[in-house]
Chain length 548, copies 2
């Protein structure tokens, strides 16, 4: 690494503390609002800053030391916001626990991370109680509630508000090394035990700058931002930090995130930007189409977590004038990797051509580098045709998993992260996920993308959800099977014929699913993605008729 | 510095190389255009990237090693752009020489920095030739010209284009430590020899992200950006790097930057953002008011270097719908420190109230921290009233001057940079420069701000320029004297009475200038700021009548 002459610049550490302080100093009266049932709770950035100080003081008293992991088991609320800042800025590590994981995975994660305390929403206590006897390192449980502490079997229980009330909030925030861990998250999309990532202050700081840029999420002080993506999922895509840094009004939806709840919040709070997974927005779309909501304030909607169907992007644009900003990322990337926006020279493209582009996962913001590699480790061209394993690097990409021997498999010798996604990249840098390496259907030496088939099938007006999986096949090795959820009252035989009609316009005959199964619901993972592991298990013995 | 547990993130260095590569990969066909006389020269980002590679290869052949200083003596052109990237990305340091400095200062700077080579525009050779015999370290002069090498007395002369033409451009860009120096600039606003600042790759990278943010300069791919601020002045305020990172079309004005040149470029190139010092825009304003230009493409205009008169901000807004984004910075800050934009809750303020706010220097973008201190080193409140020395810190602020013993005076014990400006900060974080510490008039134990007087005087319709200086006074220690330039044909007696009328509405009697002197022009420094040193010298013996 070259350094012939050092710069004369300050050795200023990139931490979350100046981000928290900035909102307090420059936007003291702007609000963080949280929906609890029928009421909107409001706290200003100046008040939130003081509460973060109180939280830090309380954590000190509970014996939390530098680098200790502090678990959170909570919805998107202003208290979770305080944990996002107060914990890392006092030198500890905020560890967000995914409350949708099965008990055995949660127990593994908490023990593996050695969480010393867990902050839990009152409404989630019942989920946590059965786990507590097996949690080896947790010394205290702090319950976040407006009222009295509820009855609970949890040991060493404290009230969040009482702990804070006992402190002044005049806290001397420490100087922190930018490479120190600020936050922790486990990724559960893998086989075997979940794997942990420790986000450094530096990584989050840089990710915060990056996603805020005009051509990324374009966050600015006038925005009214609602992170619907859970704060227990991949750091809520960085929206908590970015929204605070630029001084947005922040709206947290609390525990209720059904379509009608969200439509009401967008209308009443005049939300300009909101973000979450496609499933949520498909639900919202139905509510909006059926009901009478005014969502004219809404400008942009970053959507990620799984591929956003082209038909959904089109419906939001045509019916509601909302630009869905298709995004892709991974827990390992803090998490944003790409965003798909139209470039200026494409302004006069046809609507359909623009839609094709928006349906891609997009281009990297500054701070992410990507490449696609063939099976021999040779770099592939950016021609929109070549498909290879997507690899990334950057200051907000993990280089390791926390205390996990499987790490080595995930990184190349020259230090890039292997995403496990198969992608193509076009000549202007737009990346398109073809599939997860493990989800591709390998048929007769060729690859069939299940994602492309699903997107096409979901374009059928009577299809609610579609998941395509590989079924073992004696001759072709694997063949695709489509599992489809139809809307109430639809004629399945007609839908089936309609789907094959649709598909045959876009795909070669050998790429078509061998059959279509109608199911009640596609099983989902804890973060709302299609859980193909479950589907594959379900159809383990499925017999596909031998075709020619 | 706390680090109880390190993050697992990549040790990815923040350098200019990924910024340069990003434009080549994502915006290969977008253009960098330069005005040379009657022609617009065009080069794409993809071509520019290759030329940067050729430049790096040529520098290697000339013997340039890691950390070596490479001088530039040039206008804003695509070749200067190549030097901004090619030199630091190959591991050397691009040292921009201010061609408006007097010969003795230039000689001092080049020898002090130990520049090994100097790149010079053909039109500037005659300025450089007389210096060459005294330049001790310069081994080669590379002339940037479209045609044949001109006759010159410079030794070891090469043609820029010939050097590049001899190389392939397939350059293996090295891994560079983010703390390595990328660029160098001397600040000449001080007494004694100029002082040098070495910008690290990291500082520039972070500054680039910071100024691009929506609430800062809001740069985005669709922007057509013209940096009028010279590339030999404070890294052209970061616009070269920011414009490239986000993929703007870049327009370089070349050597001609008079009002009519700029008006023509804004109209013909449909420029959306341009930036420079107030003097330039006062000149442009006259041209626009007199002529028939269509500048409707222009959206934003960051203006800094010295205070932008309120009347100018008003004129651009009312007559042309252009938002002047008042900015403040210093060579020591890479250089942006604050920008003055309206916050959303101010949207329904009166035009006059908004103008008052825009006339302040503004709020810090993320990455800059500021405070004001009294003479005893106590921090002053942000109440819009208290005035104290402005101090700053951040990852893009210098901690030192290059090989200069005077450094210590410029930094506090706790590591903040003392700007030498006296400022107030209001409760929402808007900073207003009251004066340079050394320019304040100290009258009878009170301070009088020369900047505030100047701004008020320049509000008079017949006043072109106004500079207020302190004159020694037997009783009051110092008293203000106003030096005013009026427009052709104005009646000086009437103007004088008018100015006093204006001032008495805003200022107390003891704050008014004791006299008004009419002059032909305010002397300027090499970067276009009012040179009060010269004025003070001119009025050294000035007698102020003893007032009560």
């Amino acid at each position: 690494m070259i350094n012939g002459l050092s710069g004369t610049m300050m050795d200023y550490q990139l931490t979350l503390t100046p981000i928290m302080k900035r909102a307090m100093q420059l936007y003291p009266n702007k609000e963080i609002r949280t929906k609890f049932g029928d009421t909107m709770h409001k706290v200003t950035y100046a008040e939130s800053y003081r509460r973060c100080g109180q939280l830090a003081q309380a954590l000190k008293k509970l014996g939390i030391e530098d680098g200790d992991r502090v678990g959170t088991f909570a919805w998107n609320t202003y208290r979770h916001h305080e944990l996002y800042f107060g914990v890392p800025c006092m030198g500890a590590v905020v560890h967000t626990l995914n409350l949708r994981l099965p008990a055995d995975q949660l127990i593994f994660i908490i023990n593996h991370a050695e969480d010393k305390v867990i902050f839990v929403d009152d409404t989630l206590i019942k989920l946590l109680e059965p786990l507590a006897p097996q949690l080896k390192t947790v010394k205290h449980y702090i319950v976040m509630t407006h009222g009295e502490l509820p009855e609970t079997s949890l040991p060493n229980v404290h009230s969040y508000e009482e702990l804070l009330a006992a402190e002044s909030g005049d806290y001397g925030w420490p100087e922190i090394d930018e490479n120190a861990a600020a936050a922790m998250c486990y990724t559960s999309g893998t086989t075997g035990h979940p794997k942990g990532v420790l986000y450094s202050h530096r990584a989050i700081y840089l990710h915060t700058m990056m996603v805020s840029l005009t051509d990324a999420m374009g966050l600015a002080e006038p925005d009214i931002l609602m992170p619907v993506v859970p704060m227990f999922h991949a750091m809520a895509w960085g929206l908590v930090y970015a929204g605070t840094m630029v001084g947005c009004t922040l709206i947290y939806p609390g525990p209720h995130m059904q379509g009608a709840d969200l439509a009401g919040l967008i209308q009443d709070e005049k939300i300009t930007v909101t973000a979450g997974v496609p499933t949520l927005w498909l639900g919202l779309l139905q509510v909006l189409e059926a009901g009478d909501y005014n969502i004219s304030s809404l400008q942009r909607m970053p959507v990620g977590g799984s591929a956003a169907p082209r038909s959904m992007i089109k419906a939001y644009k045509e019916k509601f004038g909302v630009d869905i900003l298709h995004a892709w990322g991974m827990t390992e990337m803090t998490p944003v990797g790409t965003l798909s926006a139209i470039k200026s020279h494409m302004a006069d493209w046809s609507d359909e051509a623009k839609l094709d582009l928006r349906a891609k996962q997009g281009i990297t913001p500054p701070g992410v580098e990507m490449r696609i590699m063939d099976v021999n480790g040779e770099e592939l061209p950016w021609d929109g045709e070549a498909m290879g394993e997507l690899q990334v690097r950057g200051p907000a990409v993990t280089a390791d998993y926390y205390k996990d021997e499987r790490s080595a498999d995930s990184f190349t010798e020259d230090g890039w992260f292997r995403t496990g996604d198969v992608s193509s990249i076009d000549s202007e840098g737009y990346m398109q996920i073809v599939d997860r390496t493990k989800d591709l259907v390998k048929s007769g030496g060729e690859w069939i993308s299940t994602v492309e088939l699903e997107n096409a099938i979901m374009g059928h007006e009577d299809v609610m959800e579609a998941a395509v999986i590989a079924i073992p096949h004696p001759k072709w090795q694997e063949r695709p099977l489509a599992c489809v959820v139809v809307s109430d009252g639809a004629d399945k035989a007609q839908v089936k014929a309609g789907i094959y009609d649709l598909l045959s316009k876009e795909f070669a005959k050998w790429q078509l699913p061998d059959d279509i199964e109608f199911i009640a619901e596609v099983p989902k993972t804890s973060v709302g993605k299609f859980d193909k592991k479950v589907l594959r298990k379900q159809y383990e013995g499925y017999q596909i008729a031998e075709t020619e």
